[in-house]
């Protein structure tokens, strides 16, 4: 897939699992992922069926960098970041994570984000490392353990390195405020137009010479006497 920015194929695919999060939390995640790197990014969202998923599809319908469903990217980017929708990537975070993974040729960079009583995991996968580990699984071994054995994995603090937490905005309140401001603007525009019209009228009267005004009045009366106009 070519990048809409014209910078070639995507270097990293960010996979956001919609889970049960409201679209208000998913959108900031998607926007942040799109702007988190100088390198081309593809964002894959797995939305649920129904109106919530449909709203999200519509919101990003014009952006070819955002994909929905399971359609795999072509060509496959070298890195994939799995993250929950409650987190927003900071600007430059993806580049930083990829640099860290590349420096030591890590298979997976795990991120743990802990805030008070809440916690999230994310992980950056080097996909060729995962493929290789999948083909070299020992009896009873798990994929991530095989990646660790072959390529190495590392755990880092996700809040320090990459993510901010999506705070739920008061959307209803903002809409209400916007509606009242629009009403106020409409009212003020009406009053302004009325005042401008009156000003134009008085200016015209003030600027008209007395002889011209007297001529106009005489012409109007003459038309009435000859029956040619309104009384």
């Amino acid at each position: 897939m070519s990048s809409p920015l014209g910078n070639g194929s995507a270097v990293v695919e960010v996979v956001i699992d919609f889970d049960r999060s409201p679209p208000t939390k998913v959108k900031p995640s998607v926007y942040s992922a799109l702007g988190a790197s100088k390198a081309p990014v593809r964002v894959a969202v797995a939305p649920p069926d129904g109106p919530r998923g449909e709203r999200l599809r519509r919101a990003f319908a014009d952006d070819r960098r955002v994909a929905f469903g399971d359609s795999p990217p072509d060509p496959t980017p070298p890195y994939r970041l799995h993250q929950p929708p409650e987190l927003m990537l900071r600007v430059g975070a993806l580049d930083r994570l990829i640099r860290e993974a590349e420096r030591d040729r890590l298979g997976i960079l795990f991120l743990a984000c802990v805030k008070n009583s809440d916690m999230h995991f994310a992980r950056l996968e080097r996909l060729d490392a995962l493929d290789a580990a999948a083909g070299d699984l020992r009896d009873g071994e798990e994929l991530f353990d095989a990646v660790d054995r072959r390529e190495g994995t590392r755990w880092i603090d996700g809040t320090d390195w990459a993510f901010d937490w999506v705070e739920r905005p008061d959307v209803t309140g903002l809409h209400r405020e916007l509606a009242s401001l629009r009403l106020a603007v409409h009212d003020l525009e009406g009053r302004l137009a009325h005042a401008q019209e009156r000003a134009r009228h008085w200016r015209r009267l003030a600027e008209e010479p007395v002889r011209d005004r007297a001529m106009r009045t005489l012409k109007r009366r003459l038309r009435r006497l000859t029956g040619g106009g309104p009384r």
Binding site: D19, P84, F110, A112, V114, K115, N116, S117, D118, M119, H120, F121, R123, E142, L143, F144, D145, D148, T153, R154, W155, I156, D157
Partner: protein
Amino acid sequence: MNEPIDYRARPYCCGALGPADPERIRRLLADAPEGLSAAFEGPGAVLYTTGAAETWEAGPRRGLHWSPLAPGSGPTAWQDAAERRLAAGLQTEPVPLLHTDALGLNDVYYRELDGAVYFASRIGGLLGLDDAPLHIGWDAWAATLAFHAPAADDTPFREVKRLRAAGALVVDDGRVASESFEPAWLADAGDGEPSPGEVAAAVAEAIPAAPEGAVTLSGGWDSRLLGILAKQRIDQVRAWTTSGDDGHDRDMRYAGPVAEALGVKHRTLVPGPDAWVEEHAAVRDRMEFQTGLHTWMMPLARNLHRHERTLVDGLAGDVMFKSSLVGGKLADETDGARREYLLWKALEQRRLRTDRMLLPAVRDRFAEAARSRLGEAVAPFIGHRAGAMLGVLHVRTARAVAASGRWLLGPELDVRFPFAHPEVLRLAIRVPTAEKLGGVFYRRMLYAADPDVAALPSTNDGARLGARRGRRQTSPESLRTVASYVRAAEPLMALLTPTARRAVKDPDALALLASGMGGMRTLSWAGLFGHWLERHQDRLTIDEP
């Protein structure tokens, strides 16, 4: 091997109801502690105890009761023993009947086998009744993650049940039947709102007069109020303080000035940095893995076992008079179903809702199970205007919090819970929640008892807390220990996401998880569950949740 429990202040009891099998009775006695003797042997019931069980008689009714939590005269019926004396017991006539107390603080575990009921003070006393495999009580483990302890009649084993508050069992015509009654405090209309002085006097009255005794003094209000009141009832009071391993250690700072103001001898005990690693197995064995709380208390408990006989504990004071966990919205809710939902949120505290370590399907199943068991536990009283407070008392206080007093301090010590007294509970129900919120009523109660002590700083003052530091339970060695239990338990690992399974194998991941409550909740629970699975692996048949 851990030291055996010494039942010197509270007895171990076991026995059977109905057509008991002699071989099973033999096994029941073989698994009981030393010093057991027959307290009652009749055709429909047998009871063995390590200490004296008091007998009662009223008309055609007779019975025995043990471990009364409230002082008073002899009961006249099993309901009276359960409510007024808060005791467990066995009615022997006219019909054999086994009961616990009306608040469910006394542990009475039982198993039904071939039409008979076998019971004991400990779950472990019932596991050897037969050689059949036992099963994981998944609902209990879900509730332990959500509320810190199983709810309703659940225990970690599906086959073993715990008698519910105000509940009883009777074997009639070869069939086991449950009975229960409504404690009078639910029907009490009351004589208006009690004054703080009246409540303090009632709490004082619940402390038995004695020549000497001890209080565990923290930095909070419950223990300092009891310190003031204990001085009125006990000639020589000693106060003990330890570090609660909460990463703030304000108890150690605040308790000293309180003890000085009270004029009592004060001893502090600071556990070593490895105390969690050293003590966790003993604590879990004593509490039979039913809660992951309280490990910090064990070094103090060992000292108290050596030096004291009677101890006054502030169990339930904050729930009853500070409306702990019950905010204004929950207290004001009049619809029973809505109240139950808000109570679920208050008790669960997002432990399951924000969990990221369990597979989503497991998390959903656990949330559903824990909520259903909570509903079962609070059904008898959730419609009452004090239903939310009673819910916290029955679910969190009785099952999770009381375990330290019952099984770490006791049964070696005679532990008294003056707040958990029928008269004090009656008064607590009459105090409007609006007055309890924010500690308004409690401050007045403290002031009425002793204005000088009331003025000293406390952990209830609402000061902002900084970051937690130096917790023994999150030291690298403690985390290694926790993770080793999780990794070794295959049925438990199968419940975790692949990322969480990788996390418990990596020391850096464990340190990151331990940096906040959100990371530690499921990990701690998993450590407890894994340890239990290891302990009972020979007897368990593993099924899916």
